[in-house]
Amino acid sequence: MTAPSPSRPTLSSLPLPHPAQTAALDAKAISRAKLGDIGAFTEIVQAYYARCLRFARAMLVEPDDAEDMVQEAFVRLYRALPRYEERQRFESWLFQILGNCCRTANSVAQRNAARLVTDDDLLERIPAESRADDDAPNAWGDSVRHALAELPEHNREIFLLHYIEGFSYDEIERMTGVRQSALKMRVKRASDFLRARLSRGDKS
């Protein structure tokens, strides 16, 4: 069974997938995927892959691992699908899994940070295809991503979940178990930091 290829999203003027459309996809595809329907699962991956990649790249200490991380998350999700009881919104479950994978990878990466990396290693890690964000020199984009990377992981994650992925505090509380007051504090800290960091050089 081959997946039909979706139209490739282009860069700067990319509309977000409308929440209503994604919701219609989910309801039927998920129940079919639960029963092992690979075609339905493919639809789900297609619907969410780009968002997951975006999230993983922003979350990971080593963003080059994002594709692997997204694949890992979808594999875990697929294996756990029979146990998915639909008490939780599918998207929040998906991002919960992805967040766990990213956090795990980050812990490992931090432990390995002391290891020396040779030039050869660096060369091997540049992916063959140029990444989407590299299309045009984007100083503002670079500043934003550098600033984001400096945030402590737990602040960064909640900031991403809320402002980039659009989860409400209610949902994030249910996904992470952290109380909403603490979540809002994290988002505030992240915003303050970004504002401070990005206002200085803001000429774009």
């Binding site: 892959y49 790249r57 009881e85 008490r87 991503r145 980039i164």
Partner: protein, 202 residues
């Protein structure tokens, strides 16, 4: 309906521009989706070493038990009882089958409130199925399951106190089958296996 723009409106203008930048979706490699799906399918086909593989799954249902093959199911379930299990006299009358109930939320952490738990079991050729577990003292008459309209699935929602519970499904009053979708545990006193559910999430 969630609208990402609503959250952003409260933010500082610099932060909003940062959010705009971060919301840009990356391009997806042509084979990325296919690779993910292949990896997932491959992972799904490999059963964990200690789980039984049921015969003749159809359309990739994999590990969902087909209790229609009772002999096979019983062999993998690890034990069979023949004849009927009689309910002790004085046991409670059948509780009317309930349809789906909305989950109850905890009012406070310390209130010990039962949580509605749903049990689902695929057994197209069974005549009767009951949920039987420590929460109903393993009494098959208490929690008979209702059959779905297409005849394939049985389900029952039961209020259960928080904690760890063991259970199984009693098929046709004679065969005990584990829940293929649940973890198992081996009883330390008896050596027999039961399905496990930790109830604690409303």
């Amino acid at each position: 309906m969630r609208n990402t723009r609503d959250f952003r409106d409260g933010a500082d203008p610099v932060v909003r521009r940062a959010i705009d930048e971060l919301q840009r979706l990356p391009a997806v490699a042509d084979d990325a989706v296919a690779n993910v799906v292949s990896a997932a399918a491959a992972a799904r086909l490999l059963p964990p070493a200690d789980e039984p593989v049921f015969p003749a799954p159809q359309r990739g249902w994999g590990r969902i038990a087909l209790a229609g093959g009772l002999v096979a199911a019983a062999a993998f379930a690890g034990f069979i009882i023949r004849g009927t299990v009689t309910a002790p006299p004085g046991s409670p009358a059948r509780v009317a089958t309930t349809t789906a109930i909305a989950p109850v939320a905890y009012s406070t952490e310390s209130a010990v409130v039962p949580i509605i738990e749903q049990f689902v079991f695929k057994a197209p050729t069974a005549r009767r199925v009951a949920v039987i577990g420590d929460f109903n003292r393993w009494d098959p008459s208490v929690a008979p399951m209702a059959r779905s309209s297409d005849g394939e699935l049985w389900s029952r929602s039961i209020p259960i106190m928080p904690g760890r519970h063991t259970y199984a499904f009693m098929v046709d009053d004679s065969i005990l089958v584990l829940d293929p979708r649940a973890p198992k545990t081996r009883d330390p006193d008896l050596g027999a296996e039961g399905s496990v559910r930790i109830v604690g999430r409303p």
